[in-house]
């Protein structure tokens, strides 16, 4: 596993995750900066992501949707707040309506990504912060798409063992 540390701050509602990759910093940056590469890892395998718009510039937008096996789409968006290739990227990540426009009263997560060269490879730090307790509570209620995927996976396992 490449994840080297995970820190959860219950007071600040923040998750900080550090991962080491055995690849040069430019290649790790490409995973974020190239929409075709981004869509290969952003969504879990059962909910592949399709990136429709991808502007990594301050104020720029990334629009994407993930697709469930039954064809249902879950649109999402980023609003880029700062970017400094190949070392840092900050954006807000939220839910979108069917037409891809942000839904204002849905939870928004602030994401800060930092890349640094580290012992011949690249260290990536991702810091995610929930907007508020209220938004965090809604994410619990809905389950993130990933949480949902996990639940579905658990159901599959149960069905297989039954």
């Amino acid at each position: 596993m490449t994840v080297t540390s995970v820190d959860k701050d219950l007071d600040d509602l923040t998750l900080t995750l550090t991962a080491d990759f055995d690849a040069p910093i430019e290649r790790v940056w490409e995973l974020w900066a190239d929409p075709r590469k981004l869509e290969r890892w952003w969504g879990p395998p059962e909910y592949p992501a399709t990136v429709q718009e991808h502007e990594l510039a301050p104020g720029g937008a990334v629009r994407y949707f993930t697709t469930a096996s039954d064809g249902q789409r879950f649109p999402g968006w980023w609003r880029v707040t700062s970017v400094d290739p190949p070392t840092s990227l900050a954006f807000n990540d939220g839910f979108a309506g069917p037409d891809g426009t942000p839904v204002e009263d849905m939870p928004v997560t602030t994401v800060l990504v930092r890349l640094v060269e580290h012992v011949g490879g690249t260290r990536m730090t991702v810091r995610c912060t929930f907007g508020s307790r209220d938004e965090m509570d809604r994410l619990i209620e809905m389950g993130t798409v990933e949480g949902l995927t996990q639940a579905v996976g658990q159901m599959d396992a149960l069905l297989a063992s039954a």
Binding site: F21, L139, M142, G147
Partner: protein
């Protein structure tokens, strides 16, 4: 409205979760939750720890109690405040979900890096 996901992962009722996060949104209340883990402090002992009136602390305790984060246990003439670890765990649930999501992402990133040839200028080389 929660119209975007067809399944609800957690079965916590809305109003209960509202209370929970309202309760945890305040620094004093979070501190009370921390101090009361062992369940040995009375409301008046707790009140000594904060630069506010007994009534104000009592009010915070009431909010926490309503949210299910703490319970009050009578011992003699005292009412001791005890943190309910289950309720705190529920708050942690959201961060756990996020962690799982990101662990999955990091693993996929690692797979992708292993798969993409080492050539440096292959950006956009795999458009459909």
């Amino acid at each position: 409205m929660l119209t975007y996901n067809p399944m609800v992962v957690s079965a916590i009722p809305d109003d209960e979760v509202d209370d929970l996060f309202h309760a945890l949104a305040d620094a004093t209340r979070r501190d009370i939750v921390r101090r009361s883990v062992r369940g040995e402090l009375s409301v008046s002992r707790l009140a000594d720890a904060y630069p506010m009136s007994f009534a104000a602390v009592q009010k915070h305790v009431a909010v926490l109690e309503r949210a299910g984060l703490i319970t009050k246990v009578r011992r003699g003439r005292e009412q001791l405040v005890r943190t309910d670890p289950d309720a705190v765990r529920r708050a942690r649930q959201a961060l756990d979900q996020l962690e799982k999501a990101w662990r999955g992402r990091v693993n996929r990133m690692g797979d992708l890096l292993a798969e993409i040839p080492q050539t440096k200028t292959s950006a956009n080389g795999r458009k459909r």
